[in-house]
């Protein structure tokens, strides 16, 4: 079983790596979104490996099902793909500076992660959906209600922003 888990971990890591490279590097924004979807599915697999099945399902439902559709709408509504606005690649100097920024942040965080290991339990803890539901309605009820308000306000804001008044009709 241990062996299978390692293979699955490597597989998902490869999917995440390839997907994120495609998401960041693709010339076409639609392809970039496909890369994002692959990455999200890879992360959902990671959640499965971590024994958090509910999180994996929510990841697919919310990210792949809702956010990626929204991004697709954004691409299509703005015709961002038209004329290949991402087509001309950045200059070498810009690339180097971006790489420097990424490596400095990644280097510091990676060094911290590698040199300060936490005491871990070998096997992921199991949290049943029942417990999660009770937590959402009990201990973390306020956060749950707040997130609903935030979602409602953002949806209302989105409608208000894109509202077009029909003149003279």
């Amino acid at each position: 079983m241990e062996y299978m888990a390692k293979i699955a971990f490597g597989f998902y890591t490869l999917i995440i790596l390839a997907g994120s490279i495609l998401a960041v590097g693709a010339k076409s924004l639609v392809r970039s979104m496909v890369g994002l979807i692959a990455t999200l599915l890879g992360v959902a697999g990671m959640y499965m490996l971590l024994n958090a099945q509910f999180m994996a399902l929510m990841q697919i439902l919310i990210y792949v099902g809702a956010i990626c559709v929204l991004i697709f709408f954004a691409i299509m509504l703005t015709r961002a793909d038209d004329g290949g606005e991402e087509a001309q690649s950045a200059s070498v100097r810009q690339n180097l500076l971006a790489l420097l920024a990424v490596l400095s942040v990644g280097g510091i965080l990676g060094w911290l992660v590698l040199t300060r290991p936490l005491a871990t339990t070998g096997v992921p803890v199991e949290v049943t959906i029942e417990k999660l539901g009770l937590g959402l309605l009990g201990t973390y009820g306020l956060a749950f209600e707040l997130i609903s308000v935030v979602l409602l306000v953002s949806m209302a804001g989105a409608v208000l922003l894109t509202w077009e008044r029909r003149n003279g009709k």
């Binding site: 994002l36 971590l50 954004a74 509504l77 942040v105 936490l118 871990t120 949290v127």
Partner: protein, 102 residues
């Protein structure tokens, strides 16, 4: 190397990819995609840390659920803003979308 370290390195890869994308992309939609990558890395890190340590696992999973909810709210709002910007400027290139002089 413990399993938690490996998961956190994967989350770090996601963060770095998103950071690279947000500095490289020229359109707002590309930047939105990069932001989603970074948020996902954060979620993976939280869940891994809560599942593999003696910390409260339920809190970690619910925290990531809230991060997902916030990401959905953020994506909705950013979509509306992008549509408005595209209507006003005719493009979503960040180099064109500026009204300040200088």
């Amino acid at each position: 190397m413990s399993a938690l370290t490996l998961y956190q390195l994967v989350a770090l890869i996601l963060l770095m990819a998103g950071l690279f994308g947000i500095t490289q992309r020229k359109t707002l939609v590309g930047m939105l995609i990069s932001v989603e990558l970074m948020l996902n890395g954060a979620g993976l890190s939280i869940v891994a840390a809560s599942q593999l340590t003696p910390a409260n696992a339920m809190m970690g999973q619910l925290g990531t659920l809230f991060v997902m909810g916030l990401a959905a709210a953020e994506a909705t709002l950013v979509l509306a803003m992008i549509v408005v910007i595209a209507k006003r400027f005719g493009t979503t290139k960040t180099s064109v979308v500026s009204t300040l002089k200088g």
